[in-house]
Amino acid sequence: MPGPTAPPSRKSSEALPLIEFRNVGKTFARGALEAVRDVNLSVAPGEFLTLVGPSGCGKSTLLNMTAGLFLPTTGEVRYAGAVVADINVRVGYMTQVDHLLPWRTLAGNIAVPLEIAGRPKREIAAEVERLMTLVGLTGFGASYPSQLSGGMRKRAALARLFAYDPETLLMDEPFAALDAQMRLVLQVELKRLCRLLGKTVLFVTHDVDEAVALGDRCIVFTSRPGRVRQAITVDLPGDRDLRVLRYDPAYLAQCGALWRLLTPPVEPAVAPQGRRE
């Protein structure tokens, strides 16, 4: 636990977990590559979990298993009490690569989940317009994904995720390609929506500050094979104001603690002569 005061136990620890990883391990390529090992983690309904860890430690792998895209090699992932064995339609997944449909315009891509839900045409058009405004893509509705920048495509994928209303959001570095202002706008919006609608979120990020700013809890993973190194409960109010957070000493202290945890040990770097055979 960071800081001397243990945070008051939240409602999360009492409620039944919505997502549960039980001794989850995943090995790829017929035993050649162990991505994650022995992950145990419970996520309460309505909890905002941020996941950080070195590149390649298996964060995306965990999200994939939560979405039911593949099964763990050992252990099990449970969702709402049941083992996830097939595509889990109760989650929405914003993948690390956007996977927009190249044959659809931006507006068409955002409309996909709405069309699947069978909403009437006029309603879809209005909703798409609203979402494009939300992510700052007004006026690009008729462009194809190949005509957009990487950050614009990410925002389109985000709008598509918001277009349907899954109980749980799996987000894999959703804001990585955005400028600081746009990122703050979207962070605020995401946090607001999640609080309002009681969404459960697994949010992967490489940005330590973001992990603290958004998360109720921040899970730090070891390098591959990924294991839970530490679960940090973020000691900030749920309705924190992200726009002024950077002036909040409590926030700064938590960021500092996380930074220290993630900074690699310095000895090898300052002792180049200490070469051992």
């Binding site: 979405a67 895209l69 595509i87 889990n88 339609v89 989650v91 929405g92 997944y93 993948t95 690569v97 996977h99 449909l101 190249p102 044959w103 659809r104 315009t105 996909v112 989940p113 069309e115 699947i116 839900a117 462009s143 194809y144 190949s146 005509q147 349907y164 899954p166």
Partner: protein, 254 residues
């Protein structure tokens, strides 16, 4: 610049033909461009050309649509059902390897020597080309895109209309484009074997009369028909795949 060079090539070719053919005494076998043109003009003036070309177009287009639709439908079906595809694979290969021209006599037996026989002959060739391409296209569909849509609660129909068909359509069109000359082969072959109308009939009857110029005139009409069909495909492609135009028009980054 390019059209100019192309025009020059045509002019040189026609000029050489016009001079060499009589000079070498080969007029009987090669006619002359002028004679071919006169023959073509006469056919056009009498309306015969349009009548025969109309019949052939009808056969080729109907065969094309029939074979194309079936090929696409069955290609999608088998592309989505691995088991069915595996079961049917040897039979399809067997039928595919049969030269379709060899089917012509059987088709005459079944359907007579009317238009429908040519339609089925053309259709049977087009079917396999479109089927194979569609099948391949459906198997190439991105699994990630399918998974993403299934997470949005998409059912098989949604997957078909939103991912599989749009993604396979590039392949379907490759098959269709490839099929144009084959649809014509089917129609004209059928006409040459048994018919009293169509461009194939025109060719065989002109050749039967040792009318070389008339034969060339009919060949030119067939070439023209193929060009028109190709144009129609290009037009349909632009209409059905607008995103391709957007991709082609863009500057290439790395």
């Amino acid at each position: 610049m390019i059209p100019l060079i192309q025009a020059a090539i045509v002019a040189v070719f026609l000029g050489t033909w016009q001079m060499l053919s009589p000079a070498l005494g080969l007029q009987f076998f090669f006619a002359t461009p002028l004679a071919v043109f006169q023959s073509l003009w006469a056919l056009m003036k009498s309306g015969l050309l349009f009548y025969h070309a109309g019949i052939t177009s009808l056969e080729a287009v109907a065969g094309f649509l029939l074979g194309g639709t079936l090929g696409m439908g069955i290609g999608i079906l088998l592309g989505r059902h691995q088991l069915l595809a595996k079961v049917l694979a040897p039979f399809l290969t067997a039928i595919y390897s049969l030269p379709k021209a060899a089917l012509a006599p059987l088709f005459i037996l079944w359907f007579g020597i009317g238009i429908d026989m040519k339609i089925f002959l053309a259709g049977s060739i087009v079917f396999f080309l479109v089927f194979l391409n569609t099948f391949h296209g459906v198997r190439e569909v991105s699994h990630e895109q399918i998974a993403i849509l299934r997470l949005m609660k998409a059912n098989e129909r949604h997957l078909l209309t939103k991912v599989i068909i749009p993604s396979a359509i590039v392949w379907v069109f490759a098959g269709l484009r490839l099929s144009v000359p084959y649809a014509l082969i089917g129609a004209i072959l059928g006409e040459i074997i048994a018919a009293n109308r169509g461009l194939g009939f025109l060719i065989s009857s002109a050749a039967g009369r040792f009318d070389t110029a008339g034969t060339f005139a009919a060949l030119i009409a067939i070439m023209f028909l193929a060009l028109v069909l190709n144009r129609a495909i290009t037009f349909a492609e632009g209409r059905l795949m607008p995103w391709r135009a957007a991709e082609e028009g863009r500057e290439v980054p790395i």
